[in-house]
């Protein structure tokens, strides 16, 4: 008999040997994990759309809710969120550059780009923390219930509170004392609790003080829920000028509690229906948690690169796999940006 017969290793055949997809087990499982995670986020956004569609109240508008920048104040619709999106896109780019460096076995390049990615990730998480802080604390005006029962949000520039001058002494403050600390916080707290009547604020210790406050500018009320007199339809929802001023301070200085709401928590918020804040906290929170875990994973893998673990292995596939996760986080944010903030 000529030639030779090849003995087929049955065990190797059962083991599958070559992958029909030409990818390693780890990479494929990362993809499968990402599919399931993408379905989770898809489910959350679909639930958001469902709730928004079924809500009979006016839903908050992204540009009106998120219009502040750090150090610069209000009047910059969505710029901050756009900046966050840009930060995340750039950190995705540095990640893909790290993967590319890995394909050239350029260890220094991988380390450099991974560190850049980690810094970008920290910036994003920090930005989100700032946004949450801002969302929870709310605007300077808050949401106000007007005298006819209608509900309005308020735009404009809040005149600074200069001081409180004590007119009736309490346990701590003497008559004639001028209080200059923690003014905004005290003011908002008292306004929400109904402790202000006709520019006279009742402080914690029982003393009464006169509020000295600079004038507001461009005060505008936007009616979100119709009352018996003011309506939320397109033609009538904006109230400006002296009327807005009188209505707003009429409610704020009424001495009744819960006429004004500042910021958001899990029970009430100034922006709109309660589900809105709930979804904000859950969706951006869940995404932020993904970013945070991505940063942690990136740090661990970066340490592995520095230690030379993957260089010895002959390939930087681990960087590629964490890269997949990191790009996914960016991908989710692109959708959150559109469906939560833009539309």
């Amino acid at each position: 008999m000529g030639g030779h017969s090849v003995q087929l290793d049955q065990k190797a055949l059962w083991g599958g040997k070559e992958s029909p997809f030409q990818v390693s087990y780890g990479k494929m499982m990362m993809w499968f994990f990402l599919i399931s995670d993408a379905l989770t986020f898809g489910g959350l956004l679909v639930a958001y759309g469902f709730t928004r569609h079924d809500c009979l109240e006016a839903w908050p508008i992204g540009e009106e809710t998120f219009n502040s920048l750090p150090f610069l104040g209000h009047g910059y619709p969505l710029l901050y969120v756009a900046l966050m999106t840009f930060i995340l896109i750039v950190s995705s780019v540095t990640m893909v550059l790290a993967v590319e460096a890995g394909h050239r076995m350029d260890k220094k390049g991988v380390i450099k780009w991974m560190i850049a990615t980690i810094i970008g990730g920290f910036f994003f998480v920090g930005s989100q923390a700032w946004e949450w802080y801002h969302f929870i604390h709310g605007s300077e005006f808050g949401k106000v219930e007007l005298s006819d029962g209608s509900v309005a949000i308020v735009k404009g520039h809040f005149g600074e509170i200069e001081n409180f001058t004590v007119t009736v002494a309490g346990r701590h403050h003497k008559k004639g004392e001028v209080i200059k600390e923690d003014l905004m916080h005290t003011f908002q707290h008292a306004a929400a609790a109904g402790h202000i009547e006709n520019e006279i604020i009742t402080l914690h210790d029982g003393s009464k003080a006169k509020i000295n406050k600079a004038k507001d500018h461009d005060l505008t009320l936007i009616i979100k829920k119709s009352g018996s007199r003011y309506k939320s339809d397109k033609e009538h929802r904006m109230i400006t000028g002296k009327q807005a001023h009188d209505l707003y301070y009429g409610a704020l200085y009424s001495g009744e509690s819960n006429r004004v709401i500042y910021g958001a928590n899990l029970k009430q918020n100034e922006y709109g229906p309660q589900q809105y804040a709930q979804f904000f906290f859950f969706i951006t929170g869940f995404h932020g948690f993904h970013v945070f875990s991505g940063v942690v994973i990136n740090i661990i893998i970066c340490l592995g690169v520095v230690a030379g673990t993957y260089h010895k292995r002959g390939h930087y596939e681990m960087v590629e796999k964490t890269g997949l996760y990191w790009h996914f986080v960016d991908l989710v944010w692109v959708f959150v940006f559109t469906f939560f903030y833009l539309i």
Partner: protein, 121 residues
Amino acid sequence: MERDDLIEYSLHAHHDEDKGKVIRKKIYFVTILLTAITVLEVFLGAVIKQDASIWPLVKWAFVVLTLLKAGYIVIVFMHLGDERPWLRYVILVPYFIFILYLIFIALWEAVYIKGVLSYFS
């Protein structure tokens, strides 16, 4: 012990500096494109108000631009474009079947429930 049932596919995924240059150029192009789309989206959102008559059109533009962005991220950044066709199908086809079904059923249900809520309120 050396295992012969594990194949290191990534050992053959290396490229040289010249190919790297081409790849990096593509990455920078996609970066600029994604940034430009984001700027365009924010610009559209800032200029056109939600009560404008063309707002529904803007909404659809947002969806299309978002899908474009997502496509570039998945195909270029996540290298799905470089994988074998069957891997692409195994990842994308089940996802789209499930998510389209979910969107369909949620929207269908939401429209009905809104009808009921409006009727009784």
